[in-house]
């Protein structure tokens, strides 16, 4: 006799096969019917992935993506002048920056590009809060986006010499008499070779190499190179050696940064971070070595590394093992619910309000307070406070209670693929639509618990589920372990 909780099978709602779903979940902010159809249309997971990687970067198209916050086009001096004259503060402009990131992640068809922009913003992390670097932060984000699927050596040179980074890690005011060590150190420890692959003497030399790159803080905010502030004389960082006799050290800086980008220790560090973000919290040394080799063989280009990564057995076996971080959780929830978010006209419109939801779950994008960037592994986010906060945000989204403006939520009638429908089939349809997979016995039982319904119950248009309990059912989908993981 079949179990009363045998799951329904609502085949009319398309799902992806296990491998394609895995790939699409890891390299997107959550499945949507559009993404499922794009993957199917491309001819499968790998074909979709390769097409995302092959797409030439289009800066103009990228800039116009959710270009809903005009202040993000202001230059540094203007942002600052407005703040000191009592206008909009830098932190408010930076809230817009985080909002634009969230909404781009929510809506962009170029999901792999968004995911990799996120990855590099975290690796070369400059917090988007803080008056000083904030004035340059949107421009910094553009640099990272431009190189997100490019070469690390080019990205590193542009990022490290960008005013936002120079300000954040104190290079902007460094002097040759006493070079400030902050950027020189984190460049080695965080951005390139990592702990254990450099010495304190390397840190000092690194800081000396970087002297001269200045920003006129609190006045014009202009970036300049100041040869009189550049420390000259022989420098050595690991096996990098230079006579450093030219007071204009810019070419030296670029040589140095390119050297670091091509260093085998950097290759392993980048490979390990990519594997941790996209494979599992504990990638094998073997896969790290393999990806590092690809990175070096392709002159620090990231696309060949990603192509290799998704073709490893370790990747294929790691389904559903990555916990979504707070921002990923919120964005995936909007996507799963099919929310249509439009340009905001007030603070309580979804495109603005989503920022508070990301905060509530644990963190907004680009807000990690330290230069090491937010954790790529799940453990720190697997906290009871996260569980409570995620449930709270999911609950308000499932009910369409907040935000209500600037967004269209699907009604229960829109969610139901047909009426009447057997409850188990409705749950299966929702599982396919929200989790991208067929329903399980456990999900069906949890759904039955939540709305006090039997699996075989006939759901009609005036059933209490449709009338006033549908949020409870959507709450089950959003608070299921499947939705917390990618």
């Amino acid at each position: 006799m079949p179990s009363p909780y045998a799951p329904g099978r609502y085949r009319a709602t398309p799902t992806l096969g296990g491998g394609a779903r895995h790939l699409a979940l890891r390299f997107s902010y959550g499945l949507t019917p559009e993404l499922v159809s794009a993957v199917k249309g491309a001819g499968g997971g790998l074909a979709w992935f390769d097409a995302q990687l092959d797409r030439p970067y289009d800066a103009t198209a990228d800039a116009s993506l959710c270009d809903w916050w005009p202040d993000l086009h202001l230059d540094a001096a203007t942002i600052w002048q407005r703040q000191v004259s009592g206008g909009r503060g830098t932190w408010e402009v930076m809230a817009d920056y985080a909002r634009r990131l969230l909404v781009r992640r929510m809506t962009s068809p170029h999901q792999v590009h968004e995911v990799m922009t996120d990855f590099w913003e975290s690796h070369l992390h400059v917090p988007a809060n803080g008056d000083s670097q904030g004035v340059w932060r949107a421009s910094y984000g553009d640099v990272v986006r431009r190189h997100a699927l490019g070469r690390f050596d080019e990205l590193l040179v542009e990022a490290v010499t960008h005013p936002a980074m120079l300000i954040f890690l104190d290079n902007a005011t460094s002097t040759k008499s006493h070079p400030n060590e902050n950027l020189g150190r984190e460049l080695l420890e965080l951005h390139t070779v990592g702990v254990g692959a450099h010495t304190e003497a390397d840190v000092k030399a690194s800081a000396r190499i970087l002297t001269g790159w200045r920003v006129d803080l609190w006045r014009t905010w202009e970036a300049s190179y100041s040869p009189q502030d550049h420390w000259t004389g022989p420098v050595a960082v690991g096996d990098f050696r230079d006579a450093n006799s030219d007071p204009d050290g810019r070419r030296l800086t670029r040589r140095y940064l390119r050297h670091l980008a091509h260093h085998p220790a950097t290759a392993r560090r980048i490979a390990r971070k990519l594997a941790t973000k996209f494979i599992s919290d504990t990638p094998s040394e073997q896969v790290v070595d393999e990806l590092a080799e690809v990175y070096l063989a392709h002159d620090t280009a990231v696309v060949p590394v990603l192509r290799a990564l998704v073709r490893t057995q370790e990747f294929r076996k790691a389904k559903g093992q990555k916990l979504r971080d707070p921002a990923e959780d919120v964005v995936a929830s909007y996507r799963a619910l099919g929310a249509e978010v439009v340009a905001p006209r007030a603070d309580d419109h979804a495109a603005n309000a989503v920022l508070w939801q990301s905060d509530a779950v644990g963190m907004r994008p680009a807000a990690w307070p330290r230069p090491d960037g937010p954790p790529l592994h799940g453990d720190p986010w697997a906290s009871p406070s996260r569980a409570l906060a995620s449930m709270e945000v999911h609950w308000s989204l499932a009910g369409g209670w907040w935000p209500k403006k600037g967004v269209t939520w699907q009604s229960p009638q829109q969610w139901a693929p047909e009426l009447p429908i057997e409850f188990r089939d409705l749950v299966d349809h929702l599982s396919r639509a929200v989790h991208g997979r067929r329903s399980s016995r456990q999900l069906l039982r949890a759904a039955c618990d939540a709305v006090e319904t039997r699996p075989g119950e006939r759901i009609t248009g005036d059933h209490r589920l449709m009338a006033w309990q549908f949020n409870r059912l959507l709450g089950v989908l959003l608070d299921h372990p499947h939705h917390y993981h990618r």
Partner: protein, 429 residues
């Protein structure tokens, strides 16, 4: 910048008698599923907590209700500015612009004195309940914030396990409630509390509810369905869900306490400490708390008594701690607070009115069982650009005294392979 409250109309389950069934059901089902420490966060401040036995009742503990609060000064705090060695001439020689003038120091003795911004701590000092131990840190210099923080918080060199010292300490305390270990301030679990013992955390006491478990769900269907989905999940998120569900009802006595955050500085640390005090006043079985306070990485603009980041940060720290002990009332007799920073800063100032990464720093202890005054042994400072504050006291010796004085746990289990040396900063030690 203010964060608007979310306004989902989920109602107030706690004030509603009809939520009782769900609560009872959850207690019955989830207790013993292995949930125990509490973490919550407010902006840049992070609080985490863990507690002693929390059985069917929420009082009596094997540790007589002792609470240890670990306040992490993130970013490597300059100990020389907080507890100034005015008797060491190298201090003034190496810091021509940012040294604190000796005549401005508070409660100076022949050698040390407190930064003037620590004035709010004077009542604790005069009561003999505030101590500073100078020259503390990791035994081997480590100038990486991230590697040093991890080493400090794991406190088990040579071990590859990711288990923090507070989680090991939790394992040594009787009881298994998630409320034993509490983290407040941010969403993440701090490294010190991370490990197999369950912990609890929340961002604010008001938010310690399960959304949907409210008066509109008199039959507890929401909680029942959540239990079904998460009870078998063996990954860390599964543990977190079970901790949260096991602990929310038990926090009711804490929520019932008055919110006195208005008496604290209006900053992240103040809000975090206010929520910790409220929870401790509620006597829900918390025994370990972590709070993060983080903007101490002062490469630039550490400044002087007239301006700069040290002045601001020290004042926030001191007023927060002072308000915390005032707020605790009689509970303060059971609470010991200790500060930890991943390392200190160099002796000599740099060209930006700041200080680069150094080694030794100061640890402050306040509250129950503390032997007030200046502690630690001093090695005269150098004045070169590279001069560090030498570490003369392993930070674990200080923490081990707190553990030995205030908990039933064995310091040798909490700090494996470590032989502590007497510091004398805790009474009876």
């Amino acid at each position: 910048m203010s964060t608007p409250e979310l306004t989902a109309p989920t109602g107030s389950g706690a004030s509603c008698g009809c939520a009782e069934y769900a609560a009872v059901s959850r207690r019955g089902l989830l207790r013993g599923m292995g949930a125990a420490a509490l973490t919550w966060s407010v902006g840049s401040a992070v609080v985490s907590a863990a507690g002693p036995a929390l059985a069917a009742t929420t009082t009596s503990t094997a540790t007589d209700g002792s609470v240890v609060v670990v306040l992490s000064l993130r970013g490597a705090a300059d100990g020389l500015s907080l507890v100034v060695p005015h008797g060491d001439p190298a201090y003034y020689a190496a810091r021509p612009r940012i040294a604190v003038p000796a005549e401005k120091l508070l409660v100076p003795d022949g050698f040390f004195g407190l930064h003037p911004s620590l004035a709010p701590l004077l009542p604790l000092w005069r009561a003999g309940r505030l101590a500073g131990v100078h020259g503390t840190g990791l035994p081997v210099v480590n100038r990486s914030h991230f590697a040093a923080m991890e080493a400090v918080e794991d406190a088990a060199p040579g071990s590859t396990e990711r288990v923090g010292w507070l989680n090991r300490l939790l394992g040594e305390l009787p009881g298994s409630s998630p409320l034993q270990g509490l983290a407040a301030g941010r969403a993440e679990v701090p490294t010190s509390l991370f490990g197999p013992e369950p912990v609890m955390g929340f961002r604010s006491l008001e938010r310690t509810r399960i959304a949907g478990d409210d008066k509109w769900d008199p039959n507890g269907t929401r909680v029942r369905s959540l239990e079904r989905m998460w009870k078998r999940s063996s990954d860390p998120m599964g543990r977190a869900f079970r901790s949260a569900m096991a602990a929310v009802d038990d926090l009711e006595p804490a929520r019932a306490q008055a919110d006195r955050s208005a008496a604290y500085p209006d900053d992240d640390l103040g809000r975090a400490l206010a929520s910790v005090a409220r929870t401790l006043r509620g006597d829900v079985g918390v025994s370990l708390v972590t709070v993060d306070h983080g903007d101490w990485d002062m490469h630039t603009d550490l400044g002087t008594l007239g301006w700069g980041r040290m002045r601001r940060e020290a004042e926030s720290l001191a007023s927060g701690i002072a308000a915390f002990f005032d707020d605790l009332g009689s509970v303060a007799d059971r609470v010991t607070l200790v500060t930890v920073s991943e390392f200190g800063r160099r002796v000599a100032e740099n060209a930006n009115h700041g200080l680069d990464h150094g080694w030794g720093t100061v640890m402050l202890l306040a509250g129950a069982g503390v032997r007030g005054g200046y502690h630690g042994s001093w090695t005269p400072l150098g004045t070169s650009l590279d001069a560090d504050v030498p570490v003369t006291t392993d930070y674990r010796s200080v923490l081990a005294e707190v553990v030995a004085a205030r908990t039933p746990a064995s310091p040798t289990v909490v700090f494996p392979g470590f032989q502590r040396e007497r510091v004398g900063a805790m009474l009876g030690q």
